[in-house]
């Protein structure tokens, strides 16, 4: 089945938009008066479209193409691209609609905009999207997935001076990147479970994977990725806010391409997941809920693009549901609707853009009766909206796919168990969602183009759009009608291979308008009748929107989540980052105690042995006891000088202990250093304010005492334990033996310091030097600053 040509042909295809974006960035003047850069950019998708078309004949004969380039061979990550029916459908949509959108944007965006940036982002997006749908490698797919998130972020925030644009861009970024990371987690688990990164090889290991304990986690993580990208309930909330993007972007990204990336992912991996109960329930369940909720919410919108955004959400839910149904007819219907929806929604967004462009508003409450001013636009909108509603006439492709959707919902391939019990409810949900689809479609068309004209509320006097702006939606509408009339036109060459790629075996379904009077047709008629009634009496039931979404909308949930997250983080941080050093010290010491004590207890490190202890003599005991008294007394000193002098007792006591334990060098050093330290303390104290009595509350005093006691106890226990468990022979014998023969000295301590371990000493004196220079610098620089201030 595969054709491993070893060619890197597709790499060039995908690289083409990126290279074009790079070249475009070399144009220094962003505002060219004479030449619109869109004309140059339009060449890229057109050429790519033709190139992909040339491959289509081979693919419809069941000859997928592949190309392979090494990227990170040590991890098995290759730039391996693969063109089968499914990828071909998407590449043609991306490049075809991309071409039309660029054409449309030439007339839509004025030359005053920063067009170079716009087209660079758009080309980046196009390239990433192509890479996404053609990748055979999990991680390459993920890379392009995030590329689309980033370029879409840039496009949504294109008018970055508007607060709503920035908000929408951030929101879409947060949600889609959240999903993308979850998907990466799923991909990593897939990699672990199958030990390969190639999607085709993973699918060939389906049986082992189904038995793997990781299967559920993989499925859920990957689905979260797909749902966030494709704006499924409850992650759909970013899509309406993304409508702040320029309309060509909305038409391209948020109706035809990016939002279908999640659909693509589910379709691509459905071979792997079908047969699983969970997959069926999640995908069809969430799809149908999205369909109903999206179409219900669309009726509530007053902004043209808002209606279209929720409409997109609901249509994507419908496609998702069909992919979940899993039967051959459902998969074919899904593919068919992917194509139909791209044509319908692309044209409708362009129409909305034209209305916005020619009247200055997108608010449907201000619009009305535009048919007389813009007859061509109205006609285009008529085909788009009625096709979206699934009006039963043989000139609308939307009707055909809706019919197939009803048919598929009646004959699901529910695996077993819970899924089998849920399946009978699906047709009802499907009809419910479609009724509201009908309602908002009618609302969209009649609200904009029929009814009273309100010229005084419009910013401009409406007139027909320029010709160039009408051509792209016209071409898309042509598809609506042609596919409506001749549904089997693209069946052989495009849809059947795509459906075959999803299902794993060739699917041949003949699409026909007239089936005879069967259940799907009756369902369609119910939809039309109920929808017509609901639209006519919309005024009377509109108040339901005050109660049904009410406080439950996903946007509010997102806001609440974000706010509580920020507030919680702020609260947590400010609860321990108080700026109080004593608190930090307490936390540090407590942490040290907990970790050390825990580790010692867990590994059985505590030990106590009296073997090898020397007898205690009187002088040592007396010295130690005095030191103890002095140390305890220090705590209770009321004045600093007293505290320092008392702590000096400990220092001199230590020197005495060194003498008693026969360490003359240490004793000498300790004696002098202790003196110097006390002198330095006394020097510094003349600069300090009088010590205030400790004003800490009793509770924190007790806590301080407990923490210091536990730290002291722990250190004592560790010292005893380390003394009690001697595992190795000390190396001091070596020094004693070789001090004179190798070091030439009889003072072993000194020989160790300057000879055996001279490096330590060298850096210790460096430390001393740095400390001295630091003190010198601190004092002198402070003085100089002070002098400067006085001047």
């Amino acid at each position: 089945m595969t054709l491993e040509g070893g060619t890197d042909l597709f790499l060039y295809y995908i690289a083409l938009p990126f290279i074009a974006a790079l070249l475009l960035s070399l144009f220094s003047r962003p505002h060219s008066k004479t030449f619109h850069p869109g004309w140059l950019v339009a060449i890229i998708p057109f050429v790519l479209f033709i190139l992909f078309l040339t491959h289509s004949s081979g693919i419809s004969e069941g000859q997928p193409l592949a190309s392979l380039t090494n990227w990170i061979p040590s991890m098995g990550i290759q730039l391996s691209f693969y063109l089968d029916g499914l990828s071909l459908l998407f590449t043609l949509l991306i490049t075809g609609i991309g071409f039309l959108v660029v054409l449309y944007s030439i007339f839509y965006l004025s030359k005053k905009e920063n067009l170079i940036h716009f087209y660079i982002y758009l080309l980046l997006f196009m390239g990433s999207m192509l890479g996404l749908v053609m990748s055979d490698n999990l991680f390459v797919l993920y890379t392009f997935w995030e590329f689309t998130s980033i370029s879409s972020f840039l496009l949504i925030g294109f008018w970055s001076h508007r607060a709503r644009s920035v908000y929408g861009a951030l929101k879409s970024m947060m949600i889609t990147v959240f999903g993308g990371l979850s998907m990466l987690g799923g991909f990593l688990l897939l990699w672990i479970a199958t030990d390969t990164t190639s999607i085709r090889e993973i699918i060939s290991q389906k049986e082992e994977l189904m038995a793997s304990p990781l299967f559920t986690a993989i499925l859920l993580l990957v689905l979260v990725g797909a749902f966030t990208k494709s704006a499924q309930f409850p992650f759909h909330t970013w899509l309406p806010d993304a409508m702040e993007a320029p309309t060509p972007v909305s038409a391209y990204l948020h109706s035809a391409t990016m939002v279908k990336a999640g659909i693509y992912l589910v379709a691509r991996l459905s071979l792997l997941f079908t047969g699983s109960d969970l997959f069926f329930l999640c995908v069809s369940g969430f799809g149908l809920v999205t369909l109903c909720w999206g179409s219900f919410m669309a009726v509530r919108q007053t902004d043209l693009k808002g209606i279209l955004a929720f409409s997109t959400i609901s249509q994507l839910g419908m496609i998702m549901a069909m992919l979940g149904f899993g039967s051959e007819a459902a998969i074919f219907a899904a593919v068919f609707h992917i194509f139909n929806h791209a044509t319908i929604k692309g044209s409708l967004f362009m129409v909305a853009g034209i209305v916005d462009h020619e009247t200055g508003t997108r608010d449907i409450r201000k619009l009305g009766g535009l048919m007389t001013f813009m007859p061509i636009t109205a006609t285009l909108a008529f085909f788009g909206t009625f096709s979206m509603a699934g009006f039963p006439l043989p000139i609308f492709n939307g009707f055909l796919s809706k019919e197939m959707f009803f048919d598929a919902s009646l004959q699901t391939a529910a695996p077993s168990g819970l899924a089998e019990q849920a399946a009978p409810f699906f047709p009802y949900l499907a009809v419910l969602g479609s009724i509201f689809t009908f309602v908002y479609s009618m609302y969209l068309f009649f609200g904009t183009f029929r009814g009273k004209v309100q010229l005084d509320r419009l910013e401009k006097k409406p007139h027909e759009a320029p010709f160039g702006m009408l051509i792209p939606p016209f071409l898309l509408v042509c598809f609506i009608v042609v596919i409506g009339v001749l549904p089997n036109l693209i069946n052989e060459c495009l849809l059947a291979p795509a459906a075959g790629a999803i299902a794993g075996n060739p699917i041949q379904i003949h699409v026909a308008f007239w089936h005879g009077i069967k259940l799907p047709l009756i369902m369609s008629l119910i939809v039309v009748a109920a929808g017509a009634l609901l639209s006519l009496f919309k005024r009377y039931w509109e108040n339901i929107f005050l109660y049904l979404p009410g406080k439950l909308s996903a946007d509010k949930a997102y806001q609440a989540l974000l706010n509580s997250l920020l507030r919680g983080a702020k609260k947590t941080t400010s609860s321990y980052m108080t700026g109080s050093l004593s608190l930090y010290l307490a936390i540090l010491v407590l942490f040290l105690v907990c970790v050390t004590a825990g580790m010692m207890a867990a590994t059985g490190g505590f030990a106590f042995s009296t073997a090898g202890l020397s007898p205690v003599k009187w002088p040592e005991a007396i010295t130690g006891f005095s030191m103890l008294i002095a140390a305890v007394a220090t705590i209770f000193m009321k004045r600093r000088i007293a505290a320092v002098i008392v702590i000096g007792v400990v220092g001199y006591g230590l020197a005495l202990l060194f003498v008693l334990f026969r360490a003359p060098d240490l004793a000498l050093t300790q004696l002098i250093i202790e003196t110097v330290t006390v002198v330095l303390f006394l020097l510094c104290f003349s600069h300090l304010p009088v010590m205030k009595p400790d004003s800490k509350p009793l509770r924190s005093k007790v806590a301080d005492v407990l923490i210091s006691l536990s730290a002291g106890t722990l250190v004592t226990l560790v010292a005893i334990s380390s003394h009690s468990s001697k595992w190795f022979q000390p190396i001091s014998d070596y020094f004693v033996k070789t001090s004179y023969s190798l070091g030439g000295g009889k003072n072993i301590v000194n020989v160790i310091l300057v000879d055996f371990r001279g490096l330590d000493t060298m850096f210790e004196i460096t430390v001393l030097g740095l400390a001295a220079l630091g003190i010198y610098g601190m004092i002198k620089i402070r003085l100089r600053k002070k002098g400067g201030m006085e001047q």
Binding site: D755, G758, I765, L768, G769, A771, I775, Y776
Partner: protein, 147 residues
Amino acid sequence: MERSSNDLILKTTTNIIVFIILAFSVNSFFSGHNAPGGGFIGGLMGAGAIVLLYLAYGIGPINRVIPVNYRIVLAAGLLIAFLTGIGSFVFGVPFLSHSFGHFHLPLLGDTELATAMLFDLGVYLTVLGVTMTIILSIAEDDGDTSD
């Protein structure tokens, strides 16, 4: 430190004691390899002697009598210590390898000389420089702020 300008007994005893301390400091430096002492203790004692001079005579006079910048002493000490280490490269041995031998010197007779002594000299000078730098900068600061 400025106030003890008229303390005759202190000044007189200091004159004698400083030499004793300095001698003891030099002694402990030289005997460090074989008896308690060494560069560190010697350096501290030397600094002690100079501090005593400052205590007895005040900062001004001593700065005139011993016009030494102790930061340079510090740097010189570090330099000597490092050079001693690097010097071992000349003989193709690892960094800080020491050697020693007995030499017959005039006046001192049979003396043991070790390169470790040079290193210890570096320690001595560094410690002296460090102690004096710290004490003098704090002391001078004290004088300046009280003005």
